[in-house]
Symmetry: C2
Subunit: 183 residues, 2 copies
């Protein structure tokens, strides 16, 4: 299967470091050309499923501007400019939760919008997380730290209580990574 | 926990039915005001994890403009205006794959960007899918229909072969929904 080609790209709107919109002229493998293809540039980010030494998952309950009511949430945040995703994940875990971990497993990178960009999420499983008392979150939102059992995370995923795509993804992939021997 | 308030909203860029950008003035529960909050309006969509009567998962291998190389993909597509998400899911399954199913389970709705909108994905598990020969996809991309075993889907998820956030989410949640009795 052949990739589509970008024939040209032009910035058509710039809001802030959180959003730039480009228009692309793209060519399909069969030769057809689309001259109005929107492309969103938003920051890349990390999410972390952190598992404590006694087998509990470090999560939040929080509110966010884009969701109705409270949601369960995974640890995560935007990459700083030129920051390595794994380093960002380690930084976000300690900043947001005060936990540190030494055993990190990469769970993949995922494009947010298959056709129109909108950044990439890098996902990690951090095993052996322990509270080192170094929390200093700069998040704007109220949030409550939770330590959930595997059964609680599974039940919450089934009930749709992780209301944001990336949070459901990271927790479901982490549960899957942790059950290799069972299935 | 208190929600943030939208004090005003203004359209600042309109590309097409696929993207409108608004600027919001928002107020935090503590009274602080942000007057440059970007909000993306993009179409809502459905994704479907369809399981055939003989226990295989209906997926694709395809290319998309926003991802590098080929990816495994879940069935899905945009909602039509005012379309019910379940009806859209049933429509997309038959249009894209030629399969129909009678047993539908809702796996939740998920905001794409927790803080800045970008649509909502509605996810479904369709059990008992069977080929009724009615495929008539209008997708622009080349795609190859695949019937994968549970073990193949798990291995692909672990290897990051579903390269788009929504596709990894729907497949991971569907595997989780199908293993209730095991864990």
């Amino acid at each position: 299967m052949l990739p589509w080609k970008t024939l040209s790209r032009q910035t058509v709107y710039h809001h802030s470091k959180y959003l730039t919109v480009e228009n692309h002229v793209v060519q399909l493998p069969d030769g057809r050309i689309f001259d109005q293809w929107n492309w969103m540039i938003t920051p890349d980010y990390v999410n972390i499923a952190a598992l404590t030494e006694d087998g509990r998952w470090v999560c939040f309950r929080q509110v966010k501007y884009g969701i109705e009511g409270e949601s369960l949430a995974a640890v995560g945040g935007y990459l700083e400019p030129d920051e390595d995703p794994l380093e960002a994940a380690k930084r976000e875990l300690v900043e947001e939760t005060g936990y540190r971990a030494d055993d990190w497993t990469y769970l993949g990178k995922y494009r947010v919008d298959a056709s129109h960009g909108a950044g990439t999420g890098y996902f990690y499983l951090a095993r052996g997380a322990r509270d080192v008392g170094a929390q200093h979150s700069d998040d704007l939102e109220e949030q409550e730290l939770l330590l959930l059992s595997r059964a609680e995370v599974e039940a919450a995923l089934r009930a749709g209580e992780f209301k944001v795509l990336a949070w459901a993804t990271i927790m479901a992939l982490a549960l899957l990574a942790e059950q290799k021997e069972i299935v």
